[in-house]
Amino acid sequence: MKKFKIIIVSLILAGLIAPFASSSPDGLEKVAEEQGFIERAASFLTGLIPDYEVSFIGNEYLAVGLAGVIGVLIVFAVVYGLGKYI
């Protein structure tokens, strides 16, 4: 059904493609490493699914894929839900 197209594409991208994404540091992180301030990074909240890996799954690909699927659904629910009660 056409109205589910965007969500389905999102789920496929986050669930099946994301596990194969590059794990190199992104532009900001790389500059932080190169310029020597990466050590300042602090983390005050580990979050439910830190670093996009579901903790209870051993396989790294599945862990990331599931994290992606959960994230897509959470974002959709949050935006849609907030919208309904705006």
Partner: protein, 219 residues
């Protein structure tokens, strides 16, 4: 470009927080006016007596409902796309931001709100981006990124340029914030702009492809 906690000085963190809360708050207020409509619940009277009084209340208009649905779908899409890091130089990756995509399809305030919610979920659930610097990430990617794309697109009608420049603008302001926080000097700006030049090109191409071939939006 998600800043973790620790890179930015407290005064900047606090000011950007105040700014972002205010900006998002005003956006919500304006969107409420746009999306909501007044409706009337009519009075029901039976021979035995009144059942209910008539009252006016606010509810989402049809357009409002459609807009919210679109925001939710695009928010989910941007979240998914942001997970897809691609290599841009040896040992470095980039990822799609989505500010231009959101603003061209949804409009500026809708885009700011959607992007902010994506960033909030990323920070709180996935620890992607710091919690204290959320205000700063919203400022860079949600406000600066979105509005740069908005003005460039409005003026030049170029999806590529809107997307490309929005990434550069966000990176530029992020560099200033890093430099003002004592993380280095010109080399920080140079490094950030160098990497985000490449990321911006990818963002430009991807934004066009998504708008034209995935969403089929007539823009």
């Amino acid at each position: 470009m998600h800043l973790p906690d620790g890179f930015i000085n407290n005064s900047l963190v606090v000011s950007s927080c105040v700014f972002s809360v205010g900006f998002v708050g005003v956006s919500v207020y304006k969107l409420r006016k746009k999306f909501l409509e007044r409706a009337r619940k009519l009075q029901l009277t039976t021979p035995q007596g009144e059942i209910s009084k008539s009252e006016t209340f606010h509810r989402l208009s049809k357009k409002g409902k459609e807009k919210i649905l679109k925001m939710a779908q695009l928010g989910a899409l941007v979240f998914a796309l942001q997970m897809l890091n691609f290599p841009i130089a040896s040992g470095t990756s980039g990822h799609f931001l989505g500010g231009a995509l959101l603003v061209i399809v949804l409009g500026p305030l809708e885009a700011v709100l959607t992007m902010s919610l994506v960033l909030i979920v990323q920070a709180l659930v996935f620890a992607d981006g710091g919690v204290f610097v959320l205000g700063m990430n919203i400022l860079n990617m949600g406000v600066i990124g979105v509005f740069t794309a908005y003005f460039v697109y409005k003026k030049f009608k170029s999806i590529f340029n809107a997307a490309f420049l929005s990434v550069l603008a966000a990176a530029f302001f992020c560099s200033l914030e890093l430099i003002l926080s004592g993380n280095g000097g010109f080399a920080v700006l140079e490094g950030m702009m160098k990497y985000h030049f490449l990321i911006g090109i990818a963002e430009g191409i991807l934004t066009i492809l998504i708008i034209k071939f995935l969403l089929h939006e007539k823009v």
